[in-house]
Each structure stands twice: as structure tokens, then as C-alpha cells.
């Protein structure tokens, strides 16, 4: 056979081969990226009146991520890396941060924070970009029930419509309330609850809502709103708002010398409510999804021990502020990791499908999850998972 390739030709062939291998390596980085971390974003209030909520969520996420990474990570040994951005409780800032994390950092999924207005503004972005979003605090009904098809928004937290039923029911059973008055923050979260509470009241023959009042986050005196509710004969006040305005509300109530029972959504537990509200902080009974007080299960014991070890300032359950943030985030992160494993990829659509069809049971902190989500149900928790609590000093203790 005739030799068709001279020395120079052989050199060219070798060069081509080398170049094509290099190109192939560039084009398909999968072999190199096996150990590249999987980036998960977290956009929440890390400063301002609800800064504690952001820190609590961070603790839950970090703890779960450490456990997952210690167990070998996901997708063949890839570690999970958390990237955080502060939305300062301002929706446009949250949206900008979410976009930045998605387009620049290429996060695989996003976690949200305490503020429903921020979450509601972020929903269209994640649905358009096809990036799974895990709500771990904000309870606005429209966050998960957003009408998008397919819907990339999931939640391991309370849902306003269901909380609203619980709040009215509790007011009636615990305080014998038949004429509750509503005092709500004047933003989309307040509006979501106004609808929910009025609907809930329709189906509860035992009570009738006598008045609806609004307040702004910066309000310092709420005696006007409280007085109007008092004049209408309110026998309980249902409040929906965050810690700082909630505290001003308790102060106004104290100044009026009005001892009306207060039943609250959980926004007040996202900041230093006992310090800000003063001696009457304990009068507000509010909803939670988890309490570190009382007898803990195996997971509860483990998480508590891990929290104590990682954050030396935590000596016991009384030192865990905003516990729902930590508990919800912990469970949600584990569920997401399971979905990524099941999907076998970091593709948003595949992870969404995996979340909707999660196989096997997961024994979490709040409960044991068995098919927590489906195509139509994107909320993992329901009324059966809610508990009512109040502050006793700095501690959060169950009231039931």
C-alpha cells in the first residue's frame, strides 16, 4: 500500500487530532464539571425590620446543605453552594437580584424570603426563566397559585387562605370570638389575607367580621385604627403584619388600656418582636409551622444539636429566633436535593417534574413528606401542620 501521508502531513493530522480533542472538551464540559458545585440562590430580607427571618432561613439552608454535601452531594458528587442576595424587603430589588442570580450566576434553583410582595414580583421571572423557586416563608396565596402553566413555584410554608381559616377558627375556639376585627398591612400580603379572611368568615357561621383596618409599615401610632375596631365592637383583633409595625400596634393597644385578644399571622416572628413590643408581646397568639419546644423527634433532636454546634449562641430552643424560617428552609432544601437527584440533571424543567412526582418518603423536620407536591398542588404543608404559639419572654411557646 502506498504511503499517502508524508512527515509534514502526519504533523498536520496530529495537530488536527489535538485540536479536535481540545474543541470537544470545550464543547462538552460535562466531564470536567462533575465536581463543579451546583449553585442555589437565596433572595430574602437580610436587612431591615425582618432581617432575622433572612438569617433564620439562611441557617436552615446552610444546615441542610452541609448534611447533603457531607453525604456526598448530588449528581455524582457535586456539592451544593449557596449564593445569597438581600432584597431589603423591596420587590424591585428582589427581582433584580433574582435575575442576576439566574442569568449571571446560573443558579439551578432559587429560595425566597419572608416578604410576599417580593415573592409575588419574582414569580413571573422564575416561570419565564424556567428556574424552580422554593418559597420557605412568604405565605401569599397567589405565590404558588399563580396560574402559570407550567408552574415553577413550590412552597414549604404556610398558605394564607389556609392560615386565615386557622386564625378565625382559633379566635373562636380559644377566645370565644364572634366579632373579630381585622388589622392588616397595606400591601399585597395584607390584601391576600383580607380576601382569605373574608372568605373564611363566610364559611364559618360562628363569627362575623366587624371591621377591616389597614396600616403602613412605617406607622408609629395605631390607636386610630384600634379605636375604630373597638367602636365597632370587635372582641378579637386579627393582625397581619411584620415585627416592627406589629410591635407598634401592641404598644398602641397597651396605651389604650384595651385588653382585647390578639391573634396574628406569623409575620411578627420575623424580627425582634418581644424587644420592640415590650411587656405585652406575649398577648399576641400567632401561627407557626414548627416549634423546637417540647418533645422533639429524631430529626428535631439532630437539627437542634447541629444548630447548637454551628451557632454557639444557641444554647436551647429559646435562642432560636424565627424558628419557622429555619425549619421550612431545612425541609425545603432536602426536598429540592432529592428532586435534583431524581431528575438526574440540573435542568429546571426536569427538576420541576421531579418535584411534582417525588418518589419515596422523606422524613423531614416538620413532618414525613409523602409526595409533597403534585402537578396541581405546589404547597407541601397544610392546616394540619400549623400550630399556635405565643412569646413568653424571648421564647416561643405553644398555646395549645
Amino acid at each position: 500500500m502506498k504511503n499517502v501521508c508524508s512527515g509534514r502531513c502526519r504533523f498536520t493530522l496530529v495537530a488536527w487530532a489535538t485540536a479536535s480533542i481540545a474543541l470537544a472538551a470545550l464543547a462538552a464540559p460535562s466531564s470536567l464539571s462533575a465536581q463543579e458545585p451546583i449553585k442555589i440562590g437565596h433572595v430574602a430580607a437580610l436587612s431591615g425590620g425582618s432581617a432575622q427571618s433572612g438569617e433564620a432561613i439562611t441557617r436552615g439552608l446552610s444546615l441542610a446543605i452541609e448534611e447533603i454535601n457531607a453525604g456526598g452531594g448530588v449528581l455524582g458528587g457535586r456539592k451544593i453552594e449557596l449564593l445569597q442576595r438581600d432584597d431589603e424587603s423591596v420587590p424591585p430589588k428582589g427581582v433584580v437580584a433574582a435575575r442576576e442570580l439566574i442569568s449571571k450566576e446560573k443558579v439551578v434553583a432559587l429560595f425566597g424570603g419572608i416578604d410576599s410582595p417580593v415573592a409575588l414580583a419574582t414569580v413571573p421571572v422564575v416561570n419565564k426563566e424556567k428556574v424552580p423557586y422554593m418559597g420557605v416563608w412568604a405565605a401569599g396565596t397567589g405565590i404558588t397559585r399563580n396560574g402559570a402553566e407550567p408552574n415553577f413555584v413550590f412552597r414549604v410554608s404556610a398558605v394564607d387562605v389556609l392560615v386565615d381559616v386557622k386564625l378565625l377558627d382559633y379566635a373562636n375556639k380559644k377566645f370565644g370570638s364572634i366579632k373579630p376585627g381585622l388589622l392588616l398591612v397595606n400591601n399585597p400580603w395584607g390584601a391576600s389575607n383580607e380576601t382569605g379572611l373574608l372568605e373564611a368568615a363566610k364559611s364559618n357561621a360562628a363569627l362575623h367580621i366587624v371591621g377591616v383596618e389597614k396600616f403602613e409599615n412605617a406607622d408609629v401610632d395605631m390607636t386610630a385604627q384600634l379605636t375604630r375596631l373597638k367602636e365597632k365592637g370587635a372582641d378579637t383583633v386579627i393582625i397581619v403584619g411584620n415585627a416592627a409595625p406589629g410591635a407598634q400596634l401592641m404598644k398602641s393597644r397597651e396605651r389604650m388600656g384595651w385588653t382585647v385578644p390578639i391573634v396574628s399571622h406569623w409575620g411578627i416572628s420575623g424580627g425582634r418582636f418581644p424587644e420592640l413590643a415590650g411587656p405585652t408581646a406575649g398577648d399576641a397568639h400567632f401561627v407557626q409551622t414548627y416549634s423546637f419546644f417540647g418533645k422533639q423527634g429524631t430529626i428535631g433532636e439532630r437539627v437542634l444539636a447541629a444548630l447548637k454546634k454551628k451557632y454557639p449562641q444557641i444554647k436551647g430552643p429559646e435562642d432560636i429566633f424565627s424558628p419557622v424560617g429555619t425549619a421550612n428552609a431545612y425541609d425545603a432544601m432536602h426536598l429540592l436535593a432529592k428532586a435534583i437527584t431524581q431528575a438526574g440533571a440540573t435542568d429546571g424543567d426536569k427538576i420541576r417534574e421531579a418535584l411534582e412526582n417525588l418518589s419515596g418518603k422523606y422524613e423531614g423536620l416538620i413532618k414525613t413528606y409523602d409526595h409533597p407536591f403534585s402537578k396541581t398542588e405546589h404547597d407541601a404543608l397544610g392546616p394540619g401542620d400549623y400550630i399556635m404559639v405565643r412569646y413568653d419572654g424571648e421564647k416561643i411557646v405553644p398555646t395549645q
Binding site: L46, G49, A51, D221, A224, A244, R272, P279
Partner: protein, 290 residues
């Protein structure tokens, strides 16, 4: 309901008045104002909280230290952000003081923390009298008195003392004042220190009623400047009275219409009254010699 609004309004209004008094003092002496006043107020509150709660100092020593710090900070603002520009005949001190205020806020955000804090109860906040069926803390009664008292003493100082007249001479004609042996730079420094202290007093008084945070001064500063203009920035008791009027109006709007309308209505009122009385409610038109 209205009693409560008036009491809250008087308290808030006195805060605006005290801050506006700070604008008045530096304006009267140097024709400049420190737009970092809101930040200085925050500094007074944050420092007194940090020293008394975090460091455990008695309030009696925490408050004077916080006030001195506010005075020193304002002197620094004058040296760095006002004097160099005024010397060149530029108005850029306006932006420079705003910038320093924002810088101070950010420093507080990183050092004091992101969480709003609450002052622990003290004698003035845990004792109260009942007015119109409402518990009114001693502090809420004290605040307007402090505001009016400070305004009256400043008024008396400017009108009836040699030093006060020297201060006013500076603004009329700095050159001539210098020839008369008045140390213009020193007097301007003093005016800034005084304005910083007034802001500090406002911050310390308001801290137990509301929350202490790095952003608490921003809106206060803006409203206080509106109040200073409303009252007529050249009149000491005018700005304090305007502060009280603004505070009460704001609280009444909140009580009657709801807080959604507070800013819209109260700022509209300011604009409307300035249209009718361009020199402010209590100000006089400046005499311009030709």
C-alpha cells in the same frame, strides 16, 4: 382618637422641630445647611442605644457621649463637605452633605446591624398620666417641652446676647464681621456643632418611642427640611412651631384618612401654604440692599 393623634403628633412634631432648628442655626450663621441632619439624628439614637444597652453604660453617661459625638460629626461635615465648597463660591456643599449622610447610614448599617432595635423601658417611658382615656408616657409630654424650651432659649440667645448678635452679624456680612474681630470660621464651626447636638437630642428622645435603626433618620431629615422651609428657616421659634403644626397635621390625617394618605396630604399642605406665604408661616422676607 383625636387626643391620641394630637399627642403623637406633638411628639413627632417636636422631633421635626428640633431637626429643623438645626437647619435654622447653620443657615442663620452661614447660609448653608447640613443635609446629613437625619443621619446625625440616627447617630444620636444608635450611639445612645449601643452605649446604654450593648455596652451597659448608665444612660446619664451614654447620652452626653452620644451628643458630643453628634457635635463632632457635624463639625467634620462642615470641614469636609461645606467649607471647601463655600470658599470657592460653589453650592456643591448641598450634594456633599447629602452624600456624607448616606455614608454615615451605611456605616451604621454595617456596625450597628440590620435589625431595628427597641430601647428598654426607663423611668420616662414606664410612668404615664391618663389624658383623654389614653396612657401618655412622661416622655411624650417631655418631648414638646424640650423642643419649645430649646427654641425659646435659642431665640433669646440670638436676640439678646452679645455672642448671639455676633453670630447673626456673620451672616449679614462675613467680611465686615471679620474686621470687627469676629472669628467667622470658629462661629460657623460652633453653629454646626450646635445643630448636630440638636439632631442628637431629637434622636435620643425619639428612640424609646419608636425603633432604633440605621435608616430611621432619612424620612425624618426630609420632613424636617420641609418643616424648616414651612416655618421660615430664619426664625427659631417659627421652625419649631411649624414642626408641631406639621406633626399634628400628619397625625390627624393618619387618624382620619389612614396612613396611606399621610405623605400625600401633608406634603401638599406644605406646598399650598408656601404658595400663599412664600417666606414660610413665621418667616420674614430677607432685605436685599441694592
Amino acid at each position: 382618637m383625636l387626643t391620641s393623634a394630637v399627642i403623637t403628633g406633638l411628639g413627632l412634631g417636636s422631633m421635626y422641630g428640633l431637626l429643623a432648628l438645626g437647619f435654622h442655626v447653620t443657615y442663620a450663621v452661614s447660609n448653608t445647611v447640613n443635609f446629613a441632619q437625619g443621619g446625625t439624628m440616627m447617630m444620636g439614637a444608635v450611639l445612645s442605644f449601643t452605649l446604654s444597652v450593648t455596652a451597659g453604660w448608665p444612660l446619664m453617661s451614654a447620652v452626653p457621649v452620644a451628643l458630643v459625638a453628634c457635635a463632632l460629626w457635624s463639625i467634620l461635615v462642615e470641614r469636609v463637605a461645606v467649607r471647601p465648597f463655600v470658599r470657592r463660591g460653589s453650592n456643591s456643599w448641598l450634594m456633599a452633605t447629602v452624600a456624607l449622610g448616606i455614608a454615615l447610614e451605611n456605616v451604621a448599617l454595617f456596625t450597628f446591624g440590620r435589625d431595628p432595635r427597641g430601647m428598654p423601658p426607663n423611668y420616662l417611658t414606664s410612668h404615664f398620666v391618663i389624658i383623654g382615656g389614653l396612657k401618655t408616657q412622661y416622655l411624650q409630654l417631655l418631648i414638646p417641652l424640650v423642643g419649645l424650651g430649646l427654641a425659646l432659649s435659642l431665640h433669646a440667645f440670638f436676640q439678646h446676647t452679645r455672642q448671639g448678635k455676633a453670630l447673626l452679624a456673620v451672616v449679614q456680612n462675613a467680611g465686615a464681621a471679620r474686621l470687627m474681630g469676629i472669628d467667622v470660621e470658629r462661629i460657623t464651626t460652633l453653629a454646626y456643632a450646635l445643630s448636630g447636638m440638636l439632631a442628637g437630642v431629637a434622636g435620643i428622645l425619639v428612640a424609646p418611642l419608636f425603633t432604633v435603626s440605621s435608616t430611621m433618620g432619612t424620612l425624618f431629615g426630609i420632613k424636617a427640611f420641609a418643616v424648616a422651609i414651612l416655618g421660615g428657616i430664619g426664625s427659631a421659634w417659627g421652625v419649631v412651631l411649624a414642626g408641631l403644626i406639621y406633626g399634628v397635621a400628619e397625625a390627624l390625617v393618619t387618624a382620619c384618612l389612614g396612613s396611606t394618605y399621610t405623605q400625600i396630604v401633608s406634603f401638599s399642605l406644605v406646598i399650598a401654604s408656601l404658595t400663599v406665604m412664600p417666606n414660610g408661616l413665621f418667616g420674614r422676607a430677607g432685605v436685599r440692599k441694592v
